[in-house]
């Protein structure tokens, strides 16, 4: 319509696309959020039923370290999930960097853990040898992988223009959701233990997401 020249290949393509047009529903984030909430609830139920709640989970002697850990993981998970969902709707100039702040705050745990480990090497060695660390890692990654599924499906329906970053965010989000679920069982409140095992679990999830997810969502 803008061109006055005779019909071109481009015009033919545009006519074809218009003929093929079918109504679409704008991609809605809410169903994904609901499915994710459901899966997370299932992960929590699985951890509590299979491994049991940590001592004093809701009792009077609920530990400050447990609350700090839960809160940090929850904030990281919520911010990263929101960032993942936003990646499905691209737009130049509307990129949010909030997840970096949340990740930096969460990184205080491994940082403080490392400092404490240096001042108390015997304790650090004991925490490193803890066999439950592997259980923490396995459970967090298992339930985290489950949570990654609806996020990947959401990105596949959307138009992520930065697949690598979207993948990293899926990893961070699902890793922290998995760790948050496991955290309800985990009886250890040592900052060295938390920094090491939770840190490794989330880092492994982030790396895996960064490496695997872009292949699944590239278009």
């Amino acid at each position: 319509m803008v061109e006055s020249s005779p019909p071109t290949r481009l015009d033919a393509l545009l006519d074809q696309l218009a003929t093929d047009l079918e109504p679409v529903k704008p991609l809605d984030d809410r169903p994904t959020a609901l499915v994710l909430a459901g899966l997370f609830a299932a992960a929590v139920a699985l951890v509590l039923a299979w491994l049991g709640p940590r001592p004093g989970l809701l009792g009077e002697d609920v530990q400050p370290m447990f609350m700090l850990r839960s809160g940090t993981l929850a904030v990281l998970a919520v911010v990263c999930v929101a960032a993942v969902v936003a990646q499905a709707h691209p737009g130049v100039g509307r990129n949010s960097q909030g997840w970096k702040v949340a990740a930096a705050m969460a990184a205080l745990f491994p940082l403080v853990g490392a400092v404490v480990a240096f001042t108390d090497p015997a304790h650090a060695r004991a925490m490193m040898m803890m066999p439950t660390g592997w259980q923490c890692l396995r459970m967090s990654l298992m339930t985290g992988t489950l949570c990654a599924v609806p996020m990947v499906l959401h990105l596949r329906r959307g138009a992520p223009v930065a697949p690598e970053r979207a993948g990293l965010l899926v990893g961070l989000a699902s890793g922290s959701l998995g760790a948050l679920a496991y955290n309800l069982h985990c009886p250890f409140d040592s900052v060295v233990y938390i920094g090491l095992w939770y840190g490794v679990a989330i880092a492994v999830a982030a790396v895996a997401g960064r490496l695997v997810v872009p292949r699944l969502i590239r278009w």
């Binding site: 393509l13 696309l17 704008p26 709707h89 691209p90 130049v92 223009v161 690598e164 278009w219």
Partner: protein, 175 residues
């Protein structure tokens, strides 16, 4: 019909609802926009393909536009994704085609600024940006680019590779 934000957003809303006429109009307005955006961004013989690529992407991903948000930034994000993708893919091929420089009509700096490809290139280290411009946009061979830029041939290749990688990461990063 003008290609301003309000008109395009209205047409896109109707297109999502299945109005083929509005959609044809929208595509007709978007095509010349994209042609102007891309004119200095790819080798001239790739321009038509890139515009069609982008319009196909718009078609396939039209559900990802959120009607509550502006249309042009969405279009620009998709156009940029397609542009970087094409640069990367053409980095895998070795084309030494010759072509004339096409003049660009004036008064489009605002539109080009909106797409932000120049701005993205400007964020790269000078050596990388110059190597990408020489090889991927001006279409020089490695030897010619090396001679023109005063970099060694392997340096040109490394600069193109690193620059494209960085560019891909920045597609939706700059504000």
């Amino acid at each position: 019909m003008t290609s301003d934000e309000a008109t395009l957003a209205r047409l896109m809303r109707e297109s999502q609802g299945g109005n083929a006429q509005a959609y044809r109009q929208l595509l007709g307005l978007a095509a010349p926009l994209l042609q102007r955006w891309f004119r200095r961004k790819v080798a001239p013989h790739e321009l038509d393909d890139l515009v069609q690529d982008t319009l196909l992407a718009v078609h396939q991903r039209r559900a990802s536009w959120d009607p509550a948000r502006p249309f042009l930034p969405w279009l620009a994000a998709i156009a940029r994704y397609r542009w970087v993708d094409r640069l990367r893919r053409s980095a895998l091929r070795n084309h030494d085609a010759l072509f004339d420089d096409i003049s660009v009509e004036s008064g489009e700096s605002a539109l080009i600024g909106r797409l932000g490809c120049d701005r993205l290139l400007a964020l790269l280290p000078a050596g990388q940006a110059a190597a990408i411009r020489a090889m991927k946009i001006d279409g020089l061979s490695v030897t010619e680019a090396a001679a023109q830029l005063g970099q060694s041939e392997s340096m040109v290749k490394v600069n193109v590779h690193r620059g494209l990688k960085k560019l891909a990461a920045m597609v939706d990063e700059d504000a």
